[in-house]
């Protein structure tokens, strides 16, 4: 049996569905709201239609867990401004179609800008070494899972003594966003399905405050379908028992303390800064900027083009989608005219975006 098959057994999914129904009954008349914080969970939930397997009184909503979706359009504007000044941009592919205030990276590329897509940011160093007279800017977007590789990249730029590569950072950390979510009483989230690979970096212990101080059930889960169902089962068990704690159900990858080498790399390279999130506004200490001593690697310093707030499409309800206030289909632009090929908002761009995930699998009648 292949590794992944062990986490996709149909019979086990059925058994867990029965167990979820039993727990739904045990909640009685209570309706509960759970949030999956991670975009990869959103994708798995949409792909396998897992929302259809939940009891009627359990709602599972998406959170701000897709890095490109929460990126402010002003970031795209800043990247485009650097391209206009002659920089070649190196980026993860899912940034390409994210709308800025006046167009996307894909639009700029079609108009002649040098925008190249990497699978790993290390590729950008190869390009920069091959073209030493060209200024290269790496678009540094992502949560802790990506921040750690980007930190290692910054250290590698130093080690190789490359003078023609800088980073434009909109890197973010997840716990401050959770702080913002639990501080908003209107959202009333009963439990968090905590991210899988962000947690591999920061450790399951990072969620202790949400359980102990805020009384929210927390389960760290992997993103195979059975992992998700088992994680939801764990959340409902806590809610039925009236307890709140951190359960690590992804122990095969996530340690309680996280990955110390990755944490050290992040701490060596980045410092926390206040950062804008779509839907959440400016969240204190939620961004990662290059620390003192690395300012020469900071594209916004080198090109004297700070990232300022951009203009969002006022009709796009991505901000509400990212807080679990509405389902994607409740946006009146969903599907027409907003589709992944011509996204009007960032939630329709990345495969991890809630709108894109809902759209791709909406043929099966997902809720």
């Amino acid at each position: 049996m292949r590794y992944v098959d062990g986490f996709r057994l149909p019979g086990a999914a059925k058994a867990l569905t029965q167990e979820l129904a039993r727990l739904g009954d045990a909640l009685g008349p209570r309706r509960v709201k759970l949030m999956e914080v991670c975009g990869s969970h959103t994708m798995a939930i949409a792909r396998y239609g897992l929302k259809d397997l939940l009891p009627a009184n359990v709602r599972l909503v998406s959170g701000p867990g897709c890095p490109v979706c929460v990126t402010d359009p002003g970031y795209v504007d800043a990247a485009l401004a650097l391209a206009e000044r002659g920089a070649a941009l190196a980026t993860f592919g899912d940034m390409l179609r994210v709308p800025g205030s006046r167009g996307s990276l894909a639009d700029a590329r079609a108009a002649g800008a040098d925008v190249r897509v990497f699978y790993s940011p290390v590729q950008a160093l190869e390009w920069a070494e091959a073209e030493p007279d060209q200024a290269w800017v790496v678009l540094a977007v992502g949560f802790e899972t990506t921040a750690a590789p980007l930190a290692a990249l910054a250290l590698e730029i130093r080690r190789r003594g490359l003078g023609n590569v800088t980073l434009l950072t909109a890197t973010k950390t997840v716990p401050p966003a959770l702080d913002a979510l639990v501080a908003d009483p209107a959202l009333a989230i009963d439990g968090f399905l905590c991210p899988a690979h962000v947690s591999a970096i920061i450790g399951a212990r990072a969620y202790l405050p949400y359980a102990e101080e805020h009384g929210r059930a927390c389960v760290v889960a992997g993103f195979e379908p059975l992992d998700v169902l088992y994680g939801v089962k764990g959340l409902l068990e806590q809610l039925v028992a009236g307890v709140a704690r951190v359960d690590n159900q992804y122990e095969r990858v996530v340690r309680w303390e996280g990955n110390p080498a990755a944490q050290r790399a992040i701490a060596r390279v980045f410092v926390p800064v206040d950062a804008p999130w779509r839907g959440l506004g400016v969240v204190p200490a939620s961004g990662l900027a290059l620390g003192p001593g690395l300012a020469d690697l900071d594209a916004s310093v080198r090109f004297e083009r700070p990232v300022t707030a951009g203009r969002v499409n006022p009709a796009c309800r991505c901000g509400d989608v990212l807080k679990g206030v509405i389902e994607p289909a409740e946006c009146r632009l969903f599907g027409a005219p907003c589709v992944p090929e011509r996204p009007l908002g960032p939630c329709m761009v990345s495969s991890e975006g809630s709108c894109a995930a809902a759209w791709r699998y909406s043929g099966r009648g997902a809720r």
């Binding site: 992944v4 059925k14 396998y48 993103f223 990858v253 990955n259």
Partner: protein, 93 residues
């Protein structure tokens, strides 16, 4: 952006990199984010970097748990069941 599928380290290179393999496919990978990586480690790769090692015993235990759930269910229902991923609009999934 996250690949959930673990890959096995088959080679370490002197510059902090290495080679990982899955089902015969080899890829180079950075190992800077692991303390003391070893050939034979099974790792989770994200954006070209190994971000954590897989605990094989935990993975086995979880698969055994799911297999037990499936077996119990199928015994009670009297046959295997299928739960296929639905087709996606772009034919990926």
């Amino acid at each position: 952006m996250c690949l959930a599928v673990p890959m096995t380290v088959v080679e370490l290179t002197p510059d902090g990199g290495g080679v990982v393999e899955l089902e015969g496919v080899r890829r180079s990978v950075r190992l800077d984010l692991l303390d003391d990586p070893q050939v034979g480690d099974v790792v989770i790769v994200h954006a070209g970097f190994a971000i954590e090692t897989l605990d094989a015993a935990e993975a086995e235990a979880r698969m055994a748990l799911f297999a037990r759930l499936a077996a119990t269910y199928e015994r009670e229902l009297g046959g295997p069941v299928t739960l296929a991923a639905p087709p996606s609009r772009d034919g990926e999934g």
